[in-house]
């Protein structure tokens, strides 16, 4: 019985690090809310998503300890992310969805 093999421990992350990450997250949240006030046209959503991705990265790396996990975790997350991207891209190739839906709207307007 191999009880001696301890839980692979992370280096102790200081409380201060967590607090800084939390502050950064709050600042980024106010940033998105603030940016939403301006009309950046087609970039509004892109900026909002960029901020969300940065926030997710912070949560993942520090709160979820990904920075200190073995590489295999990172690869697995990459695979999941890529699958998600593939699903979205390949659905969007079918652009009849948008013309179909917009056609419906136009038909409604004509009534």
């Amino acid at each position: 019985m191999d009880h001696a093999e301890h839980h692979e421990e992370h280096p102790m992350i200081g409380y201060g690090t967590y607090i800084s990450v939390w502050l950064a997250l709050l600042i980024l949240t106010s940033l998105t809310v603030a940016i939403a006030g301006f009309d950046l046209g087609q970039y509004t959503t892109a900026v909002a998503m960029l901020v969300a991705v940065v926030k997710t990265t912070l949560v993942g790396l520090y709160f979820m300890h990904l920075r200190y996990e073995p590489k295999v975790f990172h690869y697995m997350i990459l695979v999941t992310f890529l699958i998600m991207v593939v699903i979205v891209i390949f659905t969007f190739i079918d652009d009849y969805r948008f013309s179909y839906l917009n056609h419906e709207v136009q038909a409604e307007v004509h009534h």
């Binding site: 695979v79 999941t80 390949f90 659905t91 190739i93 079918d94 652009d95 009849y96 839906l101």
Partner: protein, 553 residues
């Protein structure tokens, strides 16, 4: 041999004492082998149910017009046949039965990574099956949407679709837990020396399958939940009356259900890759090529779902892209088939029952795969879409592929699981009946479909009757063969001869433990020193240990 002394001291897993007794020592057991047997009993029960429904469909179609059941019942019967066969038989099929029982043995582990989760997964399977049966008897009418639950019909029909769909959701959860367990097990619990490229190819098949189970099933989960929300609250996402797009349902459904086709077939391919070396007594040709093609099928499988929707009103670009990518699947599949055939070369082939199933798999799956190219090509698909050609195609790949591989696996691992042997002569006769019946049943469907017989129809024009009759006769031969095979196996369990530890002379790790294996599988911790199909190293190792013993004496 080493185990003679050990044999006296070990207790086989099914005789092991536990906190529970009787049936509870099985249904509350976290032993992967007991769970594998539980799955085997429940999955095969469902299979027989689905089989009877299939026979009923074929019987109804023996003549045009009403024959034995009325049209609404017919719709319900083919729906149930599909739902049971897909969700309760072929998706859990090989991974849940043989993945559970054999995979930990093959990689030299004591159990899977999460034994309790494994048991939960079986209970979810049983709950899903129970919910499905409840759904049958609680609606205003039987579920009649087809196994695909296409919106908007599924959001509008009076059958108890919500519960049926929820049953599928629960079954999906069961499938996810199995996949999650297998990935972790293969990553963490391989025995010392069991490197990735020493693993049997069955484990590679399960590994790729498990990733699809984890990364595709949730998509159908949310889709099915939305069908329930649509029916309950009218969220409108798939309902054109509110503003939704039913074709989007099809996209989401096939985002899961096309990769799910590979959940079904990859473990079957893994079985074949394990059986071939065992009955040719030579290493598999192109081990790495088969392993990588397994993974690439899983990856490419995510990008081809649109070929189920060529006539659903997709954009032309999407049709062409999906059609093109569909052809890519043929490359890794072809690599596998050529490697299997090359593995026969200069092998000492033994035509035992599992090998007969293996060879039939290669033959039937090739027909299924090649007709798949007919369907994947945009132009020809327009002609045969939603005809019996499709029905023939997927029965050749699914039943001729996975089903036959499952039967092969049942014969191959039978001595390991039960410590007994079945009657070889009866097994061969049953195989012959299955092989002949299969082709008589499903090949006419290609002809029917090519001539324009649509799938799922209750009635048909008189000119189609000839091939329908042939097909129905085939269904009887096939069913006879299957029942004969099952009967033979059950008789093997009750009164078969005692099996040796390694009756086939196979080289993988599960054959080094006693039959049936003890509770924690290995009497002494395994240390792997050679690849899965390295017969030379295996024989050399045996000689060495014999020499050592002689020396000791």
């Amino acid at each position: 041999m080493a185990q003679t002394a050990a044999e006296l001291s070990y207790t086989p897993y099914h005789r092991e004492t536990s906190a529970f007794s009787g049936i509870f020592s099985w249904i509350f057991s976290t032993d992967h082998k007991r769970i594998g047997i539980l799955y085997m009993i429940s999955v095969l029960t469902m299979f027989i149910g689905g089989l009877c429904l299939g026979l009923l469909i074929r019987l109804e179609l023996i003549a045009p017009g009403a024959t034995v059941i009325d049209a609404p019942t017919y719709n319900a019967v083919f729906t149930l046949h599909g739902v049971i066969m897909i969700f309760l038989f072929i998706i859990p099929g090989i991974p849940a039965i043989f993945g559970n029982f054999i995979m930990p043995l093959q990689i030299g582990a004591e159990d899977v990574a999460f034994p309790r989760l494994n048991l939960l997964s079986w209970w979810l399977y049983i709950s899903g099956a129970a919910l499905l049966i409840i759904a049958l008897f609680t609606g205003d009418k039987l579920p009649d949407t087809g196994w695909t639950f296409y919106a908007p019909y599924s959001t509008a029909t009076e059958g108890n679709i919500s519960l049926a769909v929820f049953a599928a959701f629960v079954l999906g959860f069961s499938s996810i837990l199995t996949g999650l367990n297998f990935i972790t097990t293969i990553h963490r619990l391989r025995a010392p020396g069991m490197t990735w490229f020493r693993m049997p190819l069955f484990c590679w098949g399960l590994y790729a399958t498990a990733w699809i189970q984890v990364l595709a099933t949730p998509v159908v989960g949310i889709t099915l939940l939305l069908v329930i929300l649509e029916r309950g609250f009218g969220v409108g996402v798939f309902d054109p009356a509110i503003g939704g797009d039913p074709v989007l349902y099809q996209h989401l459904f096939w985002i899961y259900s096309h990769p799910a086709v590979y959940i079904m077939i990859l473990p079957g391919m893994g079985v074949i890759s394990d059986l071939l070396p065992a009955f040719t007594k030579r290493t598999i040709f192109g081990y790495k090529a088969i392993a990588f093609s397994t993974v690439s099928i899983a990856v490419v499988g995510y990008m081809v779902w649109g070929h189920h929707m060529f006539t659903s009103g997709m954009s032309g670009t999407a049709q062409i892209v999906f059609s093109f990518l569909t052809f890519l699947v043929a490359i890794p599949t072809g690599i596998k088939i050529f490697n299997w055939i090359a593995s026969l070369y200069k092998g000492s082939i033994e035509l035992r029952a599992p090998m007969l199933y293996t060879l039939s798999f290669i033959f039937l799956f090739s027909i299924g795969g090649l007709t798949g190219l007919v369907l994947g090509a945009l132009a020809t698909d327009m002609h045969v879409h939603d005809t019996y050609f499709v029905v023939g195609h997927f029965h050749y790949v699914m039943f001729g592929g996975l089903g036959i591989a499952l039967f092969g696996a049942m014969h191959y691992w039978f001595p390991k699981m039960f410590g007994k042997m079945y009657n070889e002569a009866v097994a061969v006769v049953a195989w012959a009946l299955i092989f002949v019946g299969f082709n008589v049943l499903y090949f006419p469907m290609f002809i029917l479909g090519w001539n324009g017989m649509p799938r799922r129809y209750y009635d048909y024009l008189p000119e189609f009757q000839y091939w329908h009759v042939v097909s129905t006769i085939g269904s009887w031969i096939l069913a006879l063969g299957i029942f004969m095979m099952l009967f033979n196996l059950i008789r093997g369990i009750t009164s078969g001869e005692k099996a040796e530890d390694n009756p086939w002379g196979a080289s993988t790790l599960e054959w080094t433990v006693p039959s049936p294996p003890p509770l924690l599988n290995f009497l002494e911790p395994p240390h792997v020193t050679h690849g899965a199909y390295d017969f030379e190293a295996m024989n050399k190792g045996k000689k060495d240990s014999k020499k050592k013993k002689k020396g000791k004496k």
